[in-house]
Amino acid sequence: MNKFINFTIFISLFLFSFYANSESSPEYQKLLLEKYYSSIDRYQKQEKNCKDISKVLPREIFSKIKINSSDLSVVLGYHFYKSFFECTATSRSEYFLVAPLLALESKKAREMVATSTELLMFDHKALIQVEMDYSMLDARLRNKLSTIQKLKSPFLLLESFELLEAENKSNDK
């Protein structure tokens, strides 16, 4: 019985992939490819825009919160990637509306989409990695941080870190 089910699934998948590959017209494929390239182009432009609007965080941003230097890197790293990820969300969604459809069209298209998707998702991978450290911080601290609006817009990571680290050191003296 299991063999029969497996065979049926195999035949269905084979027929589906044949149908998917053979059904699309060249005009459809061409438009899809154009939308795919445009979505990558728009993603890059939005990414640049998010970078251009980034500012150094003000030195008094954590005036009411005590954060030591090692937590500071965790806090800034997490909010940097989170705000950046949210800033580029629209163009990324656009890409994900087109790319899977393109991947259905041919082996070469699948290969291209897999590569571009991994590249586009690199920041998401980084966000998950920094989130692991961030989730280890005290919940009360995370709650306080979640109310700071300036952390929700893209900011300059290293420049902000150096300023706030120096601020921490001068307060410790």
Binding site: I40, K108, L119, F122
Partner: protein
């Protein structure tokens, strides 16, 4: 930022991980450039099929491909900058911090 000589640079675990990630980004973007570099419509969809009619591979075909191709190196650069920025926060020695800061900001002239 002015370019500086870094002596006695020893990479920590965080730096080694970041270097691995940068290599991956470099690999992905070169692969993508190779694919899109020959990524005309015919190459992507008709490579294994019999071409039954003549499809017009016009300037639009190459224009849209160029759009994608110019975006990739810029995307790559930005991803690497973010990796370098984050790593600069995670390392503890002055030399390592300077190394990642130079990648993050870039440098001109100097020693």
């Amino acid at each position: 930022m002015e370019c500086q000589t870094i002596n006695g640079l020893v990479f920590s675990y965080a730096s080694k991980q970041a270097i691995k990630e940068i290599r991956r980004v470099e690999g992905l973007s070169s692969a993508l450039l190779t694919i899109t570099g020959v990524g005309t419509f015919a190459n992507i969809f008709l490579a294994n099929k019999v071409i039954e009619a003549s499809y017009s591979l016009s300037t639009t075909d190459f224009k849209m491909m160029t759009k994608g191709m110019t975006a990739i190196p810029l995307m790559k650069r930005s991803i690497i900058e973010r990796i370098a920025g984050l790593t600069a926060l995670r390392v503890s020695t002055r030399e390592e911090r300077l190394f990642w800061k130079t990648i993050y900001l870039g440098c001109k002239g100097g020693e």
